[in-house]
């Protein structure tokens, strides 16, 4: 789950970090009123869960309530990576001496959390290695202020900046571990004239698999944004999510819609990627990506089959899985045929290929034969099955 900027700031403030205080507005009039209350130069920012807002024009500096109203009406009309902006924040435009970058994330190669400290904020990716310090730490011990001081000296930081940012990093790393974060980033951290360190912007992503133990912390932050979709889900994708949630047994979902004419019911995860690549290599145009696995119920498979076939322009459906371990091929076969029946489509004319070798394969084969569909076995590779699916889908 990604937090919006104002949610991230609220979460991190609970761990003792200081931030500029955003006022929120969902209309230009509310932005104007907020600006009147603030009474000084301000920054308006679109509240969307993406980075690089400045470059995309989603951050505006304003001096007067009227300017705030105008800027807000522009921001609220924006689409950001396909997400409509529904809320803007208004906060004081701070004067500061210097900017720093503070982040904590996972180093999947080292298999440890890693703290990052940068001299100079904003475009940290572009900065030379000597202006970015990194430090891997043990989650059992946590990150100590001493580690922060060592990182600071590597960057040439001194005096109150060194002391302050080391404490800041310690608190950020603590928040990271306590909140089951995937990424936490305060950028920039501004050092004000009186030496305070204040975060101007924050980005936080929390691990979905840890939500069961973060619910109280997250509930206090309001509605959260799903991580997986960079754009808002299409109607088809939303419906697929609903189908997958019918029952906790197995996966029949993770649908991503594409602009093609061949529906794909594919799985498990690795084979889905393999088959999708192969379909495209042979010139096929997939109508969707999806992942099926973990032995989903007949009902879920039937509902997903019907859904995928309902997309306008879809000609046929290809059912391809790796040699299955836990998923039952016969349950898949029954589900697919049930879905076809509900769609009013004839199996032999609608299924381009059915290839699910492995557990309960013979039962599946016999069942499909009754509907005039010849199942392919393991002697037909994933690649060969994908090629046949493309050939049999025909051209429009």
């Amino acid at each position: 789950m990604r937090l919006l900027e104002h949610q991230a700031k609220k979460l991190l403030a609970n761990f003792g970090l200081a931030f500029t205080q955003p006022l929120l507005a969902d209309t230009p009039a509310a932005a104007m009123a907020a600006m009147e209350r603030l009474g000084k130069a301000a920054v308006l920012k679109a509240q969307v869960p993406f980075g690089r807002r400045g470059k995309a024009g989603a951050v505006r500096f304003v001096e007067t309530p009227l300017e705030a109203q105008r800027a807000a009406s522009e921001l609220l009309a924006m689409n950001f990576q396909g997400v409509k902006v529904t809320q803007v924040s208004i906060e004081e435009k701070l004067t500061f001496l210097r900017e720093l970058y503070a982040g904590v994330t996972w180093d999947t190669q080292a298999k440890r959390p890693v703290a990052l400290l940068g001299a100079g904020g904003m475009d940290i990716e572009q900065c030379p290695p000597e202006c970015l310090a990194r430090r891997i730490f043990d989650p059992w011990i946590g990150f100590t202020a001493g580690m922060g001081r060592e990182m600071s000296t590597r960057l040439g930081l001194k005096g109150r900046t060194l002391v302050g940012i080391s404490e800041f990093m310690k608190k950020l790393a603590h928040a990271f571990l306590m909140s089951d974060a995937v990424t936490m980033e305060v950028n920039p951290v501004a050092e004000t004239l009186d030496g305070a360190l204040i975060g101007l912007d924050a980005r936080v992503e929390i691990e979905d698999d840890a939500m069961y133990r973060q619910q109280d912390r997250m509930a206090a932050l309001g509605q959260l944004v799903s991580t997986t979709t960079g754009r808002p889900p299409t109607t088809l994708e939303t419906e697929a999510q609903r189908i997958d949630a019918i029952d906790h047994r197995g996966v029949a979902g993770r649908v991503v819609e594409f602009d093609g004419d061949l529906a794909l019911l594919i799985g498990g995860g690795g084979a889905s990627l393999t088959v999708f690549d192969a379909i495209r290599r042979y010139g096929g145009k997939p109508a969707n990506y999806c992942e099926v696995g973990g032995n989903p119920t007949e009902e879920k498979v039937a509902a997903l089959t019907k859904l995928l076939l309902s997309k306008p322009g879809v000609r046929k459906i290809a059912v391809i899985m790796n040699v299955v371990n836990n998923t039952r091929a016969d349950v898949m076969a029954r589900g697919v045929l049930m879905g076809l029946e509900r769609s009013g489509r004839e199996p032999s004319k609608t299924i381009s290929v059915f290839r699910i070798p492995g557990s309960w394969e013979q039962e599946a084969r016999a069942f499909l034969a009754k509907s005039g569909v010849e199942a392919l076995g393991r002697e037909t590779s994933l690649d060969a099955a994908a090629r046949m699916a493309v050939e049999r889908n025909g051209s429009p």
Binding site: Y101, E125, D138, P139, W140, D180, A210, G270, L273, T274
Partner: protein, 291 residues
């Protein structure tokens, strides 16, 4: 080699998935000698005695390998209990383990000198000898998919472990071992650690690797092979090329700084090729140079 003579403990043995796994693994020849489920000590699962603690199970069985199949919330605790009692090889089947727990588990495993496979793995098999986990599913399918031979299969996807092995078996190429390394961003032993082990295994001549987008396991292996060339023939197949073309929606800089441009399938393929690995463009090409 793992499972040559290992005695196996199953943590969470009374669970539905674990008990089915135990039945199949026993029938395949795996030496499962004890199980643990707190509160169910004294029971039996397919003839295997169940204990309340790893301590009691170890006293009765002297296991060296543990398979963990407990709910995600209990994985860290179960693993620490195994490490504390001298388990040297641990396979974590459980899915959806928070990565903080995985990381904490691996820190202690390193200290205890224990090799960890997973989390989120279907397991591993040494064809004709033994298997751990649900890899291959029903026994008739296991026997049809895997055959003893000299090619090791290492895969980031459980399903593809069986698919690749079955594909090889179908074309007369047997496997010395097949391992699903686990599908999570952070897992225990990955390609590099496992290649180092296989380097010294006289029963393995070649390795087939299955990789996916994300993470840096493939790049890490490429870097290792450049430093220390391998005696093994290594073929790789990478799926998810289309993911490279989908414009990623970025969120912050931290991951980009840490991964340093790694993660794309194109980049992984290039790194592996540069390190002397044969990278198959089509799945069927993974046979190249194997016999």
């Amino acid at each position: 080699m793992i499972l040559d003579s290992d005695r196996i403990l199953v943590q969470g043995i009374t669970g539905r998935e674990a008990s089915g796994m135990v039945e199949d693994a026993l029938a395949y020849g795996s030496r499962i000698v004890a199980g643990v489920t707190p509160g169910k000590g004294g029971q039996q699962v397919h003839g295997v005695p169940v204990f309340d603690t790893v301590s009691e199970a170890m006293a009765a069985s002297n296991a060296t390998v543990s398979v963990i199949s407990v709910p995600a919330v209990a994985v860290l605790d179960a693993a620490l209990e195994a490490f504390a009692h001298g388990i040297l090889f641990c396979l974590v089947m459980t899915e959806r383990v928070p990565r903080l727990d995985t990381c904490k588990l691996l820190v202690i495993a390193e200290r205890a000198g224990c090799t960890v496979i997973g989390p989120n793995t279907l397991g591993l098999i040494r064809p004709g000898i033994a298997k751990l986990g649900t890899i291959g599913g029903r026994l008739d399918n296991v026997r049809q998919s895997f055959r003893l031979g000299r090619v090791a299969v290492l895969s980031r996807s459980g399903g593809m472990t069986t698919e690749i092995s079955s594909f090889l078996t179908n074309r007369g190429i047997g496997q010395s071992i097949a391992i699903g390394v686990g599908g999570d961003p952070i897992v225990g032993a990955n390609f590099t650690e496992l290649i180092k082990i296989l380097e010294n295994d006289p029963s393995t001549d070649a390795v087939v690797i299955y990789g996916e987008p994300g993470g840096a396991a493939e790049e890490q292996l490429a870097e290792h092979l450049k430093r220390e060339p391998s005696r093994l023939r290594i073929n790789a197949f990478l799926s998810g090329r289309f993911v490279d073309e989908i414009e990623g929606v970025r969120f912050g800089h931290a991951a980009v700084v840490v991964e340093g441009g790694r993660g794309s399938v194109r980049g992984k393929a290039a790194a592996l090729r540069e390190a002397g690995v044969f990278v198959a463009d089509r799945f069927d090409d993974i046979l190249e140079g194997l016999s």
